[in-house]
Symmetry: C2
Subunit: 338 residues, 2 copies
């Protein structure tokens, strides 16, 4: 009855179905190349709220409503919600979703939150504990800058390797029955810390964790890069993506042709002044729950591996000279055969 496959992977006996998703992004993301594939582009990044923290909470609140509407479900049909974000004590999730009245599991995986939530949702669905589970995450450029770097008003110079936190949110509903792409496997990441201390190079810090999970996935499942139309990382950006593809190539896995990264896709890197690309929980959240899910529904993508990546530090511990532990969680998604 064990569903384990190797050291880090599980395979589902009844692959849970992602029956619906929703995505909302900010104004800058709405000027990027994926703009038309999000459900909603904000006109005001502050959402009319009095603070950036409250604006980000509204993102989660609004995407939850939207995904429920799109799935034609009411909140009381949802058995569990998994959510988390980058704000201290995950307040975007807690304040944004407090009125839902749904049993709630708070998670913290930094920018790996989207796939952490999909992983746990798939497990409790296949395990027989949930019929409908909602997975939500968000990030907001302004709340993240304020908390992790500098007040916006300071106008700090950004390093060339720095990434731009996506203002955006994604929501997905995982179900036992229904139609849509299915989660077939989950490969759960270990914490990997290669001693990187540069807070302005998150992609570089996270790439080894992504490589670790990706090679584990191939070893555990016996699959190879060719089994996927797309291997999609969360927010490695330009620098981290180059590192990841090179790192796994050394281990014999050539993903140069079918790897892409949400942080590279969401912005026009050359013209939007985002340096190394997008980042944040909402980067993988909005790109997976927007354009990528749409391509799965249309059959333009058939088999994908989504692997969001997270950097698990905070500013105080880096100021104490510590390095940056990172993690990546992979979810294999296939179109359900009729």
């Amino acid at each position: 009855m064990s569903k384990r496959l190797g050291a880090q992977t599980v395979k589902f006996s009844c692959p849970p179905i992602i029956i619906q998703t929703a995505s909302i992004v900010g104004t800058k993301e709405g000027e990027g190349p994926l703009a038309k594939d999000f459900d909603k582009v904000l006109e005001d990044d502050k959402c009319g709220a009095p603070s950036w923290e409250q604006a980000e909470s509204m993102l989660q609140q609004n995407v939850a409503s939207l995904v429920l509407d799109k799935a034609q479900l009411s909140a009381n049909q949802i058995n569990y919600v998994f959510s988390g974000d980058l704000q201290n004590q995950c307040i975007s999730a807690h304040y944004g979703l407090r009125s839902l009245n749904i049993p709630f599991f708070g998670i913290y995986g930094a920018c790996s939150t989207m796939t952490e939530s999909l992983s746990l949702a798939a497990m409790i669905t296949d395990g027989g504990f949930s019929d409908y589970t909602m997975c939500i995450t968000s990030s907001h450029f302004c709340s993240a800058e304020k908390q992790f770097r500098f007040p916006l008003e300071y106008g700090g110079q950004r390093a060339p390797s720095a990434q731009w936190t996506v203002t955006g949110t994604g929501g997905a509903i995982v179900a036992r029955e229904g139609t849509g792409p299915c989660i077939t496997h989950v490969t759960t990441g270990k914490i990997v810390d290669m001693g990187i201390t540069d807070i302005n190079n998150m992609g570089g810090a996270m790439a080894p964790a992504a490589a670790d999970t990706l090679t584990a996935h191939f070893k555990d499942t016996g699959r190879s890069p060719e089994d996927y139309d797309l291997i999609l990382t969360g927010d490695l950006g330009v620098i981290g993506s180059d590192l990841l593809t090179d790192l796994v190539n050394r281990d014999g896995y050539n993903i140069y042709h079918n790897h892409n990264d949400c942080g590279k896709m969401i912005f026009d890197i050359k013209n939007q002044d985002v340096h190394a690309g997008g980042s944040g929980c909402g980067c993988c959240g909005s790109v997976f729950c927007g354009p990528v899910y749409k391509k799965l529904k249309k059959g333009e993508l058939k088999n994908i591996l989504v692997m969001a990546t997270g950097a698990l530090m905070n500013p105080a511990i880096l100021q104490q000279g510590e390095s940056i532990p990172c993690i990546a969680h992979a979810v294999a998604i296939s179109l359900k055969e009729a």
Copy 2:
């Protein structure tokens, strides 16, 4: 095949077993009435570390080693670890456990973390995804004061309703096979926000969430207070405990005789100057994984409901005038019949 029972509860077909626990507490907790029932009492609350944050990380690192030793397991036999804490971005978990090399799920439930982790561990165990799962949490008085209230050096006056964050950690191993008390049911909490804004009265803020989960547990399972030797809340303290018992009594559930709270148990409230009692993730963590688990193993307790409670705010959002959303997760534990 659904294991759902009512709106918020699941019942396990093969109740997962808590095969071992470990607990470590600080010096003040070591002067309290439960001192002899923890595995280890620190001689130095800083654990020889250069900062409070790093000291708390060492608590998690040390309790993980200890529970593995006590269970006679090596880290590579553990399929998953669930951990979280109160530090911004849960750094105690990430830095404390980064060397374990175990697939890691970060969770954030504030002081409800111990039972959130046991809930998820039980689900993935009964679901067939894990043979051994480790659940860990911690809190540290000094890192919590610094982050949530005032620098210690400021010597701020504490309100009578304030609670004292426990310096402590608890670790448990949940298994598919073995001997020990079993997790039979899990009742997952909803976020409850009754509009309380007083950061110095967490027990008062959390009590309605505890009442909500407890009444849901009784309704979902058809059980009554008499089915439990002990209904143990996490850190409601003196004020929150009085509120909880009165609140559920209005709904027809008399728990005056068999309710206790880890925050009331861990300190000598009258003589240790802790005002309304103990709090923090490590409060339920150390008391459940220490004295309470020992009583279960000895058969002095046979059926208990453990319900850790969490306040899901951060200081910034309270300064913006927001109220405190709270949550409570309940886990029913019974001695395994031979």
